[in-house]
Symmetry: C2
Subunit: 197 residues, 2 copies
């Protein structure tokens, strides 16, 4: 997605060879109109899905929530469910549970989804802001599998190809669509993967 690549180059701040900070528009401050464009980006990538074929959009708190919610508008307004990282005192019923490694926070995090919001047979699209090592996405994929859902694919706004998350998911047979694919970061410059995104 050309406008996204341009935005990453214009506003992204690289840190070393692993990190590009995009908190000016994506995951701390949100450019709302641009999010509508990102959502349309996903609708084009998954244009082969029949209208009405997405029963649920799944993401994980926090920074996946806004993009997942806007994406839902493009797919006929299915409910969005976001996995929770803390265990709120109000989450008293049965939930699906798995652990994921957060590399940016250097710790394992549990993610949970109440079982009643992810049911067998539901066709699920996973949407997130970043696909890096693929920990969050494969955690959500595991929860879908446990719940007996049909996984339609994973959509990520920005994929950092060099961290292998997309490869990991592809090996598990998961369809991955990323709106921008960063091949590498070198001397503060961002190189996008040609031919993809």
């Amino acid at each position: 997605m050309q406008s996204l690549r341009e935005r990453i180059v214009a506003d992204g701040v690289t840190v070393g060879t692993d990190t590009v900070k995009v908190d000016s528009f994506l995951n701390h401050q949100i450019d709302v109109r641009f999010f509508e464009e990102l959502a349309r980006g996903f609708s084009m990538r998954f244009a082969d899905l029949e209208p009405g074929s997405v029963d649920k959009i799944l993401t994980v708190e926090s920074s996946g929530i806004a993009v997942a919610t806007f994406t839902a508008r493009e797919f006929g307004y299915p409910p969005v469910v976001f996995a929770k990282k803390d265990l709120p005192s109000t989450m008293t019923e049965d939930y699906w549970f798995t652990e994921i490694m957060s590399f940016t926070k250097s710790k394992m995090t549990a993610i949970r989804i109440a079982k009643k919001y992810l049911q067998a047979g539901e066709r699920v699209l996973i949407i997130d802001d970043f696909l890096a090592h693929g920990q969050a996405a494969s955690g959500l994929v595991r929860l879908c599998a446990e719940a007996g859902c049909e996984l339609l694919g994973v959509g990520a706004v920005i994929e950092k190809q060099f961290q292998g998350g997309a490869t990991l998911l592809a090996r598990e047979g998961v369809r991955v669509e990323s709106l921008a694919v960063i091949e590498r970061i070198e001397d503060g410059r961002i190189h996008f993967a040609e031919g993809r995104a």
Copy 2:
């Protein structure tokens, strides 16, 4: 807001006299079309604000993000900024910082906003899902004050009047608009405040 009150009664699950769980449509699973309606609710409540007079919408992760982002669409698409609870390794610049008590999680939580995303003179509207004890909202109010912003008000989807958050904010001179105001929960029944919301 009548449709919200009906939804709370239909789908909310009360726990004791303090808690109503609305995770089927508000803060775990999101009813996206209903969020558009909630956003219009806020635009009606703050209809006196001149077009273009909201420079920024402020919320706190996680469950405020979606409603804040949809509300931004009603106010000319200002950026949404959400305060962060964890300290991500990528947050290296100066930030505003305060601590708030989370009663549902029984712990103090730090919230942070990078200084560059909240600047002196900006006219800020705070939007959140719940207003209970007012901890999150008054934390955000403090950050706005420190940053030298002009606070336009606080909008909450559901206010639990009996927990005093709105009173606390009003005492500080903050305008509060809640789309539904719960006066009390008694024997599993939700009583809404008359004359407000």
